[in-house]
């Protein structure tokens, strides 16, 4: 796994797309963050990510856009010449996790259940494509969470773990995110519209 940051601020299209393409082709696997400073570049880089089969999380900070893509074994770019690596364990299931406990009833039981659920995901084949954490679900991905270890293992195996930025802000946990990336409602809606999704 490697993290790459491609700073395309000050560049006009198509240069950010060209640089993103080069970075994705050069990277083996890992997280690639492209920084741009205009809407056109943001939209075009997001289009490129989608065309390459990579999910993209977009965050705006002070007029700059941080577009984060995860290149994993199950997310080969759709480049025609790229050799396709078979990964029998890669799945397409998305889980939308809306709270830090599981089910309605006793909160204590709910905490036991969510821990069992996340841990069990480690055993399931094919593994999930993504976990989308919203509302108190984001508490699962921050420092001190009881499931931080299994979530980190899932992320290392290529499962995309995304936490809702608005929710992290609300709970004032943005600086404590310990696994995965920050996302927004657009990416969440786009993901659950296109992928088979189960809501927890």
């Amino acid at each position: 796994m490697s993290d790459r940051v491609i700073d395309c601020r000050g560049m006009v299209c198509p240069q950010p797309v060209i640089n993103t393409k080069r970075a994705i082709e050069a990277a083996n696997a890992g997280r690639i963050t492209v920084i741009v400073d205009n809407q056109v570049a943001k939209t075009n880089v997001a289009k490129f990510a989608a065309a390459s089969g990579l999910g993209a999380a977009i965050e705006e900070q002070g007029g700059h856009y941080y577009i984060t893509m995860m290149k994993g074994a199950e997310q080969q770019p759709a480049a025609p010449a790229a050799p396709v690596v078979a990964d029998d364990d890669a799945g397409s299931q998305v889980y939308l996790i809306t709270q830090n406990t599981m089910g309605h009833g006793s909160p204590e039981l709910g905490q036991v259940l969510i821990k069992a659920f996340i841990t069990t995901l480690l055993e399931i084949k094919p593994r999930p494509a993504a976990l989308l954490l919203i509302n108190s679900g984001v508490k699962l991905a921050v420092q001190g969470s009881p499931v931080i270890e299994p979530l980190q293992i899932l992320a290392e195996r290529g499962v995309t773990v995304l936490s809702c930025g608005t929710c992290l802000d609300y709970y004032q946990l943005q600086s404590q995110l310990a696994v995965g990336d920050i996302t927004n409602m657009y990416t969440i809606v786009e993901t659950i519209s296109h992928k088979k999704t189960v809501t927890i």
Partner: protein
Amino acid sequence: MGPGDLAGILRQLPVMHNPNVLVGITTSDDAGVYKLNETTALVQTVDFFTPIVDDPYLFGQIAAANSLSDIYAMGAMPLTALNLVAFPQGKLAGEVLLAILQGGRDKVAEAGAVIIGGHTIDDDEPKYGLAVTGITHPNKVWTNAGAQPGDALVLTKALGTGILASADRASLFPEGVAAAAASMAALNAVAAQIASDFSVHACTDITGFGLLGHVFEMAAGSNVSIVINSQALPLLPDAAEAAAMGLVPAGAYANRNYLQTVTFADSVKENIRDICFDPQTSGGLLFAVPGHQGEALAVALANAGLVDVNVIGQVTAQGEGDIYVR
């Protein structure tokens, strides 16, 4: 400039009235028309831009074809042209300027017109284009304001030159880039000639505001609504793929933001929407002809060798420029 910016500035200038002006700056048309007498009207236009291809001779051809196109879009014949040149003297070799002017000269000659002068300035970035004068009969002027409900819309060139110019800068999609260059360098002379045998209610050429920007000008100018069939749009090779991977020029987004009266059916994919707004250089002519003549015009144009012609939509009803893309 984007359509919104330009309109905002032009609105601040008082209109100049003259009874001989048949088409002026108030109607967003392709060229101005001035009536000389009962049988002859002058048609005048000017256009120039920065290089869109690396090859200077090809750039000269494209710039000239683009400038001449406005004359054809008014149903006129080009007579004379003046070169407009900006060139970084000392930074680029004189042969580059020669090649640009040779390309323009050859294209004007192909159009049966003649270059009778021009003006050159020193500038950091090369620019080239022409001011062109043509003539037509005052009663036979094609404007963008005559489309009628029931008309069919016929487009004579494939779309995607702006997206493929981006692809060219990214050194991607060489096949599509070559096809775009050939399309941009092609005159609209044959299309205009063939269409003159049909009942042309309205005509415009597709350039910087993109297909839907110019469709909007026709719809608003004619007080009608227009439906575009996205599946019938002729596309340059690789244009859809290049748009899908984000090679969409900033001008396409500017056109999209400006056009508030466009509605897309859910089934129209994002990359096709981008192509609908893509700024075109030296694009095709868009004709509005009576509905029953649409297919016949398309067939006649295809028989004349224009391979990317299609009936792409219909004028539906009175309206205020609403556009629906299905």
